[in-house]
Point group: D2
Chain length 337, copies 4
């Protein structure tokens, strides 16, 4: 259940609504929605609550049958949201490219790649310090050392840093070094992690799970926003299907569908979908043509020796060529890039 407070609602009225709910034992979330405020009641509500809430001063409407993702939906918020990460704006006119290696491996590696992608036009740097890996015997990332190397690369290039956080207890640590928190595909329904990122004052890049419907992705975004953090960017990265020619099947229709249902920006990760660098550029072009607000691309200066995902990483030259192609398509659909 959600209560939508009046624009003219006073701070006292707002506090009264929240106090009443908390005194009755509800967990409550308060989030801005344009000029209004939405008070969400997490969990199930007792009978009668709806009527009592509706009678409180400052409350303009109570929805028992909440649109399942009230905060991220376009229904109450028709204008697209733009999200700032450092000096970069995601969701505006520019097609924003986030690029970098799958994993941070060494200072030399991350600096080499960061400088090259910056030169080629990337606006944000990606790189994994905490890596979720299918096998316990795989390389799990450099951890905090990786975060420090990412910060050094930001220093050297000016690119804000996006990096994955894999557990609630790491959110503060990662947030102290990064500019944007990435929630990986396999954690899309790790609800504690979503909530923890929702309590963090830092933009979040939320990747679609490989078997998640678009509605489930929007529900996951709602977790983050309803816990207090409205700065969420969605990311399509391929879904699991029977086709094995590519690692996943890029659901390019996700871009217009998500943008129709939600006001949040939408990026596309062509690298994980492709699984092979040969298909990354055409998928990147397709994503931008479909209206994506940006791309998340894996790049490595020496992919054969990458400690993870080398096969799908673009070379530095390959990235430069892809950037040129993407810029052309961006212009054709009325965007800069």
């Amino acid at each position: 259940m959600i209560a939508i407070l009046d624009r003219a609602c006073t701070l006292k009225q707002k506090t009264d609504v929240v106090r009443l709910l908390e005194e009755e034992g509800y967990r409550v979330t308060v989030a801005p929605l344009g000029e209004q405020t939405i008070v969400g009641i997490l969990g199930a509500a007792a009978p009668g609550l709806e009527d009592r809430l509706a009678r409180l001063p400052g409350v303009s409407r109570v929805d028992r049958e909440v649109p399942p993702y009230a905060l991220v939906s376009r229904i109450h918020h028709p204008e697209p949201t733009t999200i700032r990460v450092g000096e970069v704006t995601i969701g505006g006119e520019e097609v924003v490219v986030v690029a970098g290696p799958c994993s941070v491996e060494s200072e030399d590696q991350i600096l080499t790649i960061a400088r090259a992608v910056a030169r080629a036009g990337a606006r944000l740097l990606r790189g994994g310090a905490f890596k979720p890996r299918t096998s316990p015997y795989g390389f799990q990332g450099l951890g905090e050392e990786g975060l420090l190397l990412l910060a050094a690369a930001r220093e050297a290039t000016g690119l804000p840093v996006v990096t994955e956080v894999v557990a609630p207890e790491d959110v503060d640590l990662v947030a102290s070094h990064a500019d944007m928190l990435q929630i990986g595909a396999r954690n899309m329904q790790n609800f504690r992690l979503l909530a923890a990122c929702g309590r963090c004052p830092m933009p979040v890049l939320l990747k679609r799970g490989p078997a998640a419907t678009l509605d489930e992705l929007l529900h996951a975004a709602e977790y983050v926003v309803s816990h207090g953090n409205p700065r969420v960017v969605l990311c399509e990265r391929g879904i699991r299907t029977f086709e094995t020619s590519t690692r996943y099947t890029l659901d390019v229709a996700a871009v217009p569908v998500l943008k129709a249902r939600s006001h949040l920006p939408v990026l596309v990760d062509p690298s994980h979908a492709a699984g092979d660098r040969a298909w990354v550029e055409p998928l990147a072009r397709a994503a931008v043509a479909a209206g994506a607000d940006g791309l998340l691309v894996e790049v490595h200066h020496d992919p054969e020796r990458a400690r993870s995902d080398g096969r799908q990483s673009l070379t530095l030259d390959g990235f430069e060529g892809t950037m040129r192609a993407v810029r052309g398509v961006a212009a054709a659909v009325g965007r800069s890039g």
Copy 2:
């Protein structure tokens, strides 16, 4: 098993190879492959045949382990193939748009739509006369009358006609009115139909089945080509996945993958993948950006009253807008459109 004949092979040598095989009871297919000739032995071959064939004059190589689709593969035929339909070339520089209604419904309907799509830049007219429908109680198309109406629309607009053929016994009839035979997604593994179209001297548009892998699509194309008809155009139209926001999931990566594996042109049908006209234009843009040689788009002047697939049909205005958008993207990827 296939035998690749020498470029310098004489007609007599070629005839001897075929005669030997037919006398031993094999079904044989002879197809040009660039300047060489491939003789395919359909079905399983007896032990020893390989050696005997290899010793015949004019035979340059015998492959027992044929690449599963030798004729449509890029391995023996690295150059892309272009296919002429009337005056139109598919697979060349131009992005070719095939447009029209799902079903031919009346003279007025098909003429209205044909004129509008021609004006907006479509190069071929599509329209169903024989409709495969999930339910026996659905509208099954006008049959031969529909073919005559399509021919009238070609007369009026100059657009060559693409229309579906659903059974081997209809191939001659459909071919006598159409300029290109369409094999629908549900018939992609109707091997008798593939063979019948393979014996017909008319280009074939072969749609991917909704659960077919890309390799199975190429095998299906090989059926057509190995029966004598090298003029096959492939078409991606969405695959079946768990996601229900769209009717099918457009596998946009199919475009670069198919073009890497095969020399045949590749079209994309964004209408069936989308299932809703709202997503047709972004999918069309994505397809062209990914490198598609053209599009197959459903258009209707009055979609609310269409007898089939109205929901996913573009209006005439919508088609015009889509064409403008597609031309921009085509130019951005170095194509005309």
Copy 3:
């Protein structure tokens, strides 16, 4: 649209209904539904027809919004249907096992296998004479010679014969040698073939397509029944999913779902789902436990040398063991087997 005729409807009344429809240009299907008769109007109906039909003598009801598969649905026909093939009843108390090789290869092969499966308790013999194969270079079956060998095997063992028909023009030929026509998974939506089998007075085994929903399977069955042949047996054989440990994913829930929606019997083919003989017996047990009316199992006396599907064929010993296991499970769920 369908019209349900009264039980007491006279032959003249029935003829009048059909004549009126045909004079107005409709294609009509007449099928018994228990003690009533259903007249189906194929394709779309003109406005007003509904009312005129409802006023005709003998018509008890007209449904414009037909349940999409009126004839095979349980709604108008709550009792399960049993179907006789020779002396064997499918859909009754007995769990009926259909067994035999993927392809008929030689007289010796089919007789050896037929005798062994008969001895082990199979009630029907399967074997392919016309084989739909993914590749044009695969073994396509012995054709008519295969049918004659199957007839010889029936002679030798008394087992009625089930064999696949792949094209409408073969229906008469296959029906003249077989006891039950099989429509393969890849032809489930070959609507001409469905219609041709619907006009043939012989029971039909209809396999689910690997990407077909259960509702699409029931629509396909409705094609056969609405063309005049009520004797259809459904068959689940695995669907296409992302999991590659098995060739297809056996959708064992299809059994209770189909039996709840339709009055037709349901078999399960564990061999194609498994793709490996190691999993055939557990899948066979599961299918019977879930309520299947029978099984379709591939068996070969020398699987290593089988010309198709050897890997998933049970050996003669393996089949005997599977039969013992299946009989135990059948008894546990109140069936004989």
Copy 4:
């Protein structure tokens, strides 16, 4: 990389191996494998380590190319593992049924259901206190209060308790009240949670993710075991496919495949696969027939008022009937139940 220590390896030798590795900065896992000991090196190993390890006293073999899930694989451990939860043995002759509500809602509710399922033959009690829910506005469980109510139900019935843990920081709390930790499908690749459960001396029920391959499930189990906890039970609960008649598609072949690849016991959850109580019993029968070591079933005394998953919960009567049916099938496949 793993080192397999000799059976006769002394404690000192074992300590030396581990100390050497830890001094070089490796994270190390030590797990029993039958009578041997496996030392696993988590993450990537430096060149040369393999040889040095192999020369240490007590080391019988070093595998650089570890079978991807060495500890849970049958290769090094051919005998099936049985796992004790309280007095109950999973993986032995008995088919063990775990039953209870989706969520613990009140003392009255959990006691009523626990007593009824105990009477009907369930051996373990399930019930959610921490609920992962798709929407932040859904009922998230009673939390610690729910754990106390589960403990009270165990007191009243003697049934050991299985309940879900959703975050690493909850593992100690949940373990202090429960007898077995459940890792839910959406957390199957929450690697921190897997590791935390791996460090807990309590059996773990690990559910397959709806888009996880069987190999990914086994990798996830390897995480738990390689962190020190060998007591893992696998659970198939349906995968995501295009078919919508059921909530998920039960992959019943997972049972024999998992049991062939791994020595761990395998349960099946027919409730989540079905999504509707109508299909729970046939799926339960199928699972046991396929060789499952037990079932996980949702039961509610008043499903219409359940706060979650009511539609797929069996009634108390329905559960009793299902238990009777399951016992019959269990006997037919040589198990008790």
